[in-house]
Symmetry: C3
Subunit: 328 residues, 3 copies
């Protein structure tokens, strides 16, 4: 599929200006490479923004997630491109696809375009990191990955399940995983819900998932058996998948750490828990698409949630790359 759709459907992220006094002080901004300039060589991860909160509005939620991609991008660009003494290699490209144009488009139109873009990026051999948007952002991502996988696995890190029925308006931020399950064209192997909270998910939705062979790891269970154990179990549950999609809803993290989300949860994962999840799931060779969704800058406190999402984005990129280096 043609990468030309990307430039057709996207505009650049707002430029980020970084004050630096030392040349060796490398940041993620230094690895950004516009897709149009990407030569296809060297390790690379594609970065795409989907500035849409129409799905949140349709779900009765509070708008604001449309501002999320630019907020995460700005915070990510400033991060140091290193952990300890290890740096991102000079050959690495963070392929900057920009943000999708959404003005005047229906959510269905945006989803169709997004699916085209992500399919094209995967077709070019890229791993893809998508900055949403409402959680409906996950649906076209999963469909794109399914189109080039025989057995799709999805890990949804979320306080909620997001298997609600679409409304009369159609898809919304609470329905992506039901739509994926009910889409017969998708070779879905298994959805793993990770972090579902007590009193935040409806029992009939849990049953809907379990009856179809999907997996629900509640926060209560995770705390009882340990996250380490659960992540090992998930690796087994997804062992047969040749395409894995990690969807990270920022409301899976306790609102003390992530106040700026559409639907905050008072309890939840810590940043360290979430980092552990990313490092384990993204390390699975079949993981090729990750999205970070539901950040809502309008409710953020001093950019706390945007900074946290940027840290997770950096960790996704780092883990993709570290894994790539092991393979090459």
């Amino acid at each position: 599929m043609d990468l030309g759709v990307v430039s057709e459907y996207c505009v650049p992220f707002p430029a980020v200006h970084i004050h630096r006094t030392e040349a060796e002080d490398r940041r993620f901004v230094d690895y950004l490479c516009p897709l149009s300039e990407w030569m296809g060589n060297g390790p690379a991860v594609a970065l795409l923004g989907v500035p849409s909160d129409e799905g949140v509005r349709r779900n009765g939620g509070r708008p604001g997630a449309a501002g999320s991609p630019a907020a995460i991008y700005a915070a990510l660009a400033r991060l140091a491109a290193s952990r300890g003494t290890a740096m991102l290699p000079a050959s690495f490209s963070l392929v900057d696809c920009g943000m999708m144009r959404t003005e005047g488009l229906s959510l269905e139109h945006i989803h169709a375009r997004q699916q085209q873009i992500v399919t094209a990026l995967l077709g070019a051999g890229l791993r893809v990191l998508v900055l949403g948007g409402g959680h409906d952002t996950a649906l076209p991502n999963a469909r794109a990955l399914a189109s080039c996988s025989k057995r799709l696995g999805v890990v949804n890190v979320d306080a909620h399940l997001d298997v609600r029925v679409p409304t009369a308006e159609g898809s919304h931020s609470g329905s992506p995983f039901r739509e994926l399950i009910e889409d017969e064209t998708v070779s879905l192997h298994r959805i793993v819900e990770l972090g579902t909270q007590s009193f935040a998910a409806s029992a009939h939705h849990v049953r809907f998932l379990l009856e179809r062979g999907h997996v629900v790891w509640t926060l209560d269970t995770i705390r009882t058996v340990s996250l380490e154990h659960v992540l090992g179990a998930i690796a087994t549950e997804l062992a047969e998948c040749d395409g894995i999609h990690l969807s990270l809803d920022m409301d899976a993290i306790a609102s003390a750490y992530a106040p700026g989300v559409s639907a905050p949860a008072s309890d939840g994962f810590s940043p360290a828990d979430c980092a552990q999840i990313i490092e384990r799931i993204v390390a699975l060779p079949a993981c090729r698409v990750v999205d970070i969704v539901e950040l809502n800058p309008l409710y953020d406190v001093d950019n706390r949630t945007a900074r946290l999402a940027a840290y997770f984005a950096a960790l996704v990129i780092w883990t993709f790359l570290h894994r790539a280096e092991q393979c090459h």
Copy 2:
């Protein structure tokens, strides 16, 4: 005692409107049953609001806790009535007693009425969840439970001790447990202070408690020996009690998670710690009264503390009920 005092002294909580698209999506609001319509059959928990912060004002604290019951009620009503695949049974009633009228009444008058109401509810065989109010809310609750118990036990989850001397004005939010100890009409067996913080409680108050056979588990000690161990010890310490009152001061939780309280503490329990405490103490068969106090919506951040208090309220109700089902 006559349940008629409840309707005489209370007004309904403000109505909560919830947007739902699926009939099976059951929330706590669906289990609310006005006391006047309660038939006395099936498992039930009574819910009462005490919108008063006069005790906080008398204690030199910042007012606002009067808005707490309505805030917790609204957040609780929206919560899903399920954990995993388990739902609250259709036969369950959350008996809605409304909020006490407090306007124009002295704190002493409010306390006397509250004690009457809670005594009547206990007399009707109900377990009672009270949403305060300042921590003085705990005093009439304990007195009511004492009136139908031979040996009263109290667990106070709190950064502080609340055994100050009443002021010239009388009772206040820092004095309930001293007043309880000094009330010779109360068959008090033991108060357990849980979560007392370093530099937040006065040494002479700790001694006051210890010298009278009460127990102080400081946060430092809990961290050293583990919460699990301490909760086991408390079960032993209260083994002889036929009436147990759990009082949950929201300032026991670190202010990152619970910013909206009268007297915030920078360190403290996590939401998961507090959930563990609730599940363990409320599971004790003698536990019949729980209050959640000191939430101050005026200092809350995007309803974070109200949501957390509502989660705790849901857990109290769930644990009461789960225990009831085991017994019947």
Copy 3:
């Protein structure tokens, strides 16, 4: 050196008025003793404020840390002077040196004066707690301690490394430990960086430290091997030091707990982690200077960070004293 420089260079902290109803309710304010009234007998810790954020401004950061000493002082004064049943002894003096005058002075001038003051206080046999200010506050503290030590050790609790190159303007809040390393007049044995975060420190700065024999304990490593283990290792790493300086940058704590800092970090230590660090490092007999820096009241939420810093200050004082009592 003459203690007269203190009164020459400092003004009193703003007075703190505390409402109390019980005489036995002792607070830290009751132990404050103006330096001019200190008789030199009994256990004592000196308290000094450095209200300067010029170093933050030079580093491109957001100003506000100048308001930090007064904010911490006010919160500390209110804290109960006890842990459990143990109180600060009546013979203890918290020697109140006031806040340095900074108006109209260059940062270099402030640093020179501060070094004089801290050297004089150490010369008088006092342990010193300094409330900054930007992290450049640490530089004169370390130099003062070095002037009366043969082998200086520094523990920097920080999300960052602060070994940047000084700018054309000179010292700034990101450069103190580089300047210390490059100062040949300083008998520096070892700097231990504790809590350095991924994507928050540049690889060439980590190498700069490691190549010179200093130690970097990243947050990732600490979580892997446990804080307990790391603190044991640090005690060994500093075993030969006869002067130890603990520098506590409030941004080492996750911004949920410490929102009011110059450069917030979404992840980081918990308050309990930081308390454990303080109790372990300050217990080392060679530890004589501690600073708490980078609190920025302009970004604080309901004084959360100031309260936390005050709790840490109380713990520093308590640990200094407890250790002193063991030795005498």
